[in-house]
């Protein structure tokens, strides 16, 4: 994996994390906003400026890809590289969590 990708996505922002998590199935930006609101009981409310910027940047970084357009909404899906990055990040979080449990 590219060092640049590793540097940007491990660790990644919560926004990027939820985008990758949700895009294991094809979805559009607003669909992700709704999914995340539901998953977190409204605690995390993603916003359109952040979503639009993140989605285009992540598409450029090739961790997600554009599939098609539906009713003016761009539908994206995670790529193999994106899945790899998500796995790395999950491992990192898991390690932190385990360390904390042992220490506390």
């Amino acid at each position: 994996m590219d060092q640049h990708i590793k540097k940007v996505y491990v660790p990644m922002t919560e926004t990027a994390f939820f985008i990758l998590l949700c895009l294991r199935k094809p979805n559009h930006g607003y669909g992700i906003v709704q999914m995340v609101a539901k998953m977190t009981d409204g605690a995390i409310k993603l916003t359109p400026g952040t979503m639009y910027g993140s989605l285009s940047k992540m598409e450029k970084d090739n961790v997600i890809r554009f599939i098609r357009e539906e009713d003016k909404r761009k539908i994206y899906q995670i790529t193999d590289l994106g899945l790899e990055v998500l796995q790395l990040e999950l491992k990192r979080i898991d390690r932190l969590y385990k360390i904390a449990q042992e220490e506390m």
Partner: protein
């Protein structure tokens, strides 16, 4: 319909100040209609309300305008206009008093600023180093047209102030991340 015009000058990185200005105007019963020229703000009389105004700067968004505006529309933001690459949005503060913004993390706020730097600041810098600075030096030391030199000098000083302010703001944003 009662209308009002106000001239306001905001430099490159003062979009937050501009947002606050528009919000305050709406709170005092003047709804933003459009901005024209070099910064003429048009308002119309309205019922005073707390409405959040937000500016985005996204060339990619303007190139794919339908999808870009759809995303904001889906999230409940009203699109007002574009102005020199900036897009203006507004959304009323909800009953719980929660004022939403269009960015929800420091990383994306910083990225917006980087887009502003690339789109607005870079052309100014190029103008500064390829035209203004050489002109200033040649008038001051070679042709000795001191009047012209001092005029250009004034513009240079203004530029330097703007660059300085931008640099301070940039560092603040950078440090706020993570």
């Amino acid at each position: 319909m009662q209308v009002k015009k106000q001239f306001k000058w905001f430099t490159i990185f003062e979009y937050e100040k501009e947002q606050d200005y528009l919000r305050e105007m709406h709170k005092s019963g003047w709804k933003f209609v459009k901005v024209t020229g070099l910064g003429m703000y048009h308002f119309e009389k309205c019922i005073p309300q707390d409405v959040v105004y937000q500016l985005d700067y996204n060339k990619d968004g303007l190139a794919h305008k339908d999808e870009y505006l759809k995303m904001f529309d889906d999230c409940g933001w009203e699109y007002i206009q574009d102005f020199f690459g900036y897009s203006y949005f507004r959304k009323a503060v909800d009953e719980d008093g929660v004022a939403e913004e269009i960015f929800c993390d420091e990383e994306s706020r910083f990225q917006m600023m980087q887009r502003v730097i690339k789109g607005r600041m870079l052309p100014l810098l190029i103008l500064f180093f390829t035209v203004l600075l050489p002109q200033f030096i040649s008038h001051l030391f070679y042709t000795r047209y001191y009047l012209i030199a001092s005029l250009i000098g004034g513009v240079l000083a203004m530029y330097l102030t703007i660059f300085g302010m931008c640099f301070v703001k940039y560092t603040q944003y950078k440090n706020r991340r993570k």
